[in-house]
Symmetry: C2
Subunit: 425 residues, 2 copies
């Protein structure tokens, strides 16, 4: 039977889950794949944590060199997160001829061009299904299943923390800060939640997914990014009443004008498959010119779901011949011919505080009309607050720049102020 | 640039779609995969159809031998459907050293053991992503992504025709026969709809998916099969009122008692991701011991979505080294140790016509209670019809055999008759 030795760098949540899966399924993989996967080394500063998981003392390495020089190790699993020292360790492993399986979205997003070059040079595999959307098989779907298509768009709910927070804000009518605190208590949000709530995590993943989908490197620095910290319970509630649910979306589009990539809160019309993706579930909705629409849904994070993706890559690596790499020039920047669209098109939800008197609506809509923006829906509510009433506008598709101009014009009138602008799909 | 010649057997809906995709994307594949895919031959009785698609006269083969002896052909795409002559043609192609990509669920389900043996012997690839759920990447997800898991269940809406009919019956309150006629007019159902509406098509697909998921051949003959022809608009309507939507489900489970495989109409509680899969959309909801729940959703049929899966397989075949085959003994029957569970567990919806008098409910529920069946919900409606009122029962999980006994007992009373029994998830 083929022996496959793995080493795990980092025994945090995902590393621990991966270790457990490999240990508990060893006989299952022997029986069904004819491969005997054993953990031949771990690198974990916290020795107690490793021992508590059941790692034998002699398998705990003191440094990366021990892992790299261990001939029993065929595949190195990197689940430390962050750029350094993960990058140095992954490069060491590749240079030592080990294939690498990683869940590290930040590392892969920022340095895929460096890592892949070294992997190729050493004839090693580099697998990263676990870097995006946990156990949901989206990377391989893009790499292997949908390559017959020109992918026109992918829209993802790809961050579990923010989806949990927005779902709770929506169901409980609670404020962002209160829900965040609760999420931190439950372990759904980190003590420093910046990477999640400001959309960095989602933009790393969107960079990875868009690069594969659109056949050119899409640097995360090209992604328009807006987090959920400014989202108000009021807007979620007004949106709900109009049949919309608020999500942090990662949107990638590719068409005649170029590539458009953005992460921001957006209202999703109920009935759209993404509207029903709640709590810490994630999903990616992909449209291609042949396949039409496909949605992949599941747990986007967590020890075992992410571990499932890692172990899937380990088995794939061990049971397939040769390795495949990016089909595009995997460089630090996009191909020179690539244009990134910044003035993107969208529908918009706008909440205005309007003077409680006749003629306001006509004045306001005249401004939007001036910029060629037509309305899909208009709601005037009767809750008077300081002499002002909420006026909700939902526009048809228009350009971002036009909305900005219209908002400036509205704010310079004395009859209404724009309180919030939220994109919609 | 690597040249890849393909031949297409059958230019029906899927064959025509595949031809169009390959033609229109030729430059796209050259640019992004460095492969030049050309159609070097087609086999199609209807020459006019081939010419109308733009196939050059000299590429239309007269027989399979011409395709097999053509050195320009590397990959044969079989999209004829049915067992013969598809089986003979596929075997000829494999024996001539051509890899095969097929969308033929009936052929692969019934003869995977034969085809794979010949593919292995000739060191050829055998790809069948398009055989199940059109453009939805479920085969490769099971083969390559989820292998780290013990898959505990898969529940699919994997037949577009029946899902279209049930969705229309539900939204329009229309009878099966009327909706079927409309579906036939629109091309969603065949003139002879038996394969779809009686659940054969779904059972072929379930056989293929379960075999991969559960690591042993699951012959379609082991699948309990019940179609949608007896479904009534009344039951759909009563179910809707209680928050259920009716679907033709293909269910595969694998646990301590063995493997359970069945295709039948079932009520799905609204809020379950499968409940929102409407019209001709399909989805497969997979649960594994590590990944938890994953759902793959999209177009389960159609020229271009199915063509997308075929072309995905062609590109995979052309750009990967070596071929992988089933990880289980791919034989005609299941492994000798496999047990198939026939007395399966489920919730049940029952509609009774009950005498419109006091004490009936107590009598009826006493019978169910005798067999250990407890009720999740009971509804007595007031529409009196011939002195009878509808009584709807929804049970907690129980055994199929117990339900059968209880139904017999109820029918032998003089206070109620069971009109319909529908399983529920």
């Amino acid at each position: 039977m083929k022996k496959v030795g793995v080493a795990i760098l980092g025994l945090g949540v995902v590393g621990g889950g991966t270790y457990k899966i490999l240990k508990e399924h060893r006989d299952f993989y022997r029986a069904n794949h004819g491969i005997d996967i054993t953990v031949e080394g771990v690198l974990e500063i916290n020795r107690e944590r490793a021992l508590a998981l059941g790692v034998e003392e002699e398998k705990i390495a003191s440094n990366i060199a021990e892992i790299c020089s261990n001939p029993e190790v065929d595949i190195v699993i990197e689940v430390m997160g962050g750029v350094e020292p993960a990058k140095t360790f992954v490069l060491s492993a590749l240079n030592a001829g080990k294939s690498v399986v990683t869940s590290n979205k930040e590392l892969y997003c920022k340095y895929s061009h460096v890592l892949e070059k070294v992997a190729k040079k050493n004839n090693c595999g580099l697998f990263y299904e676990a870097s995006c959307v946990g156990g949901v098989p989206v990377i391989r779907a893009l790499l292997d299943n949908l390559q017959g298509n020109k992918i026109t768009s992918l829209i993802g709910i790809i961050n579990g923390t923010t989806n949990y927070i927005l779902t709770k804000m929506s169901s409980a009518g609670a404020a962002y800060k209160d829900v965040l605190k609760e999420a931190q208590k439950l372990g759904y949000a980190e003590a420093d939640p910046t990477a999640d709530v400001e959309g960095y995590d989602a933009s790393y993943k969107l960079s990875i997914l868009s690069s594969i989908a659109f056949h050119t490197k899409v640097p995360y620095t090209e992604i328009y990014r807006e987090g959920i910290t400014e989202v108000s319970a009021e807007d979620i509630s007004y949106g709900n009443r109009l049949g919309y649910t608020l999500k942090l979306l990662a949107i990638g589009k590719c068409g005649g004008n170029g590539i458009e990539v953005r992460v921001h809160p957006a209202f999703v019309k109920k009935g759209h498959p993404l509207a029903g993706v709640n709590d810490s579930y994630n999903a990616v909705y992909i449209s291609g010119d042949s396949v039409e629409d496909v949605m992949l849904y599941g747990r986007g994070a967590g020890a075992l779901p992410t571990g499932s993706a890692i172990v899937g890559d380990v088995i794939y690596c061990a049971t397939h011949n040769g390795f495949n790499y990016s089909t595009f020039e995997n460089s630090e920047t996009a191909a020179p011919s690539t244009k990134f669209v910044k003035n993107f098109e969208s529908s918009y939800y706008l909440r205005l505080a309007a003077a409680d008197k006749a003629g306001v609506l006509s004045k306001v809509t005249a401004i939007f009309s001036k910029y060629g923006i037509s309305m899909a829906e208009v709601k005037q509510y009767t809750e008077v607050n300081n002499g002002e009433v909420p006026l909700i506008l939902i526009t048809h598709t228009t350009y971002e720049n036009n909305i900005k101009k219209a908002v400036t014009d509205v704010n310079s009138t004395n009859v209404a102020k724009v309180v919030s602008v939220i994109r919609a799909i």
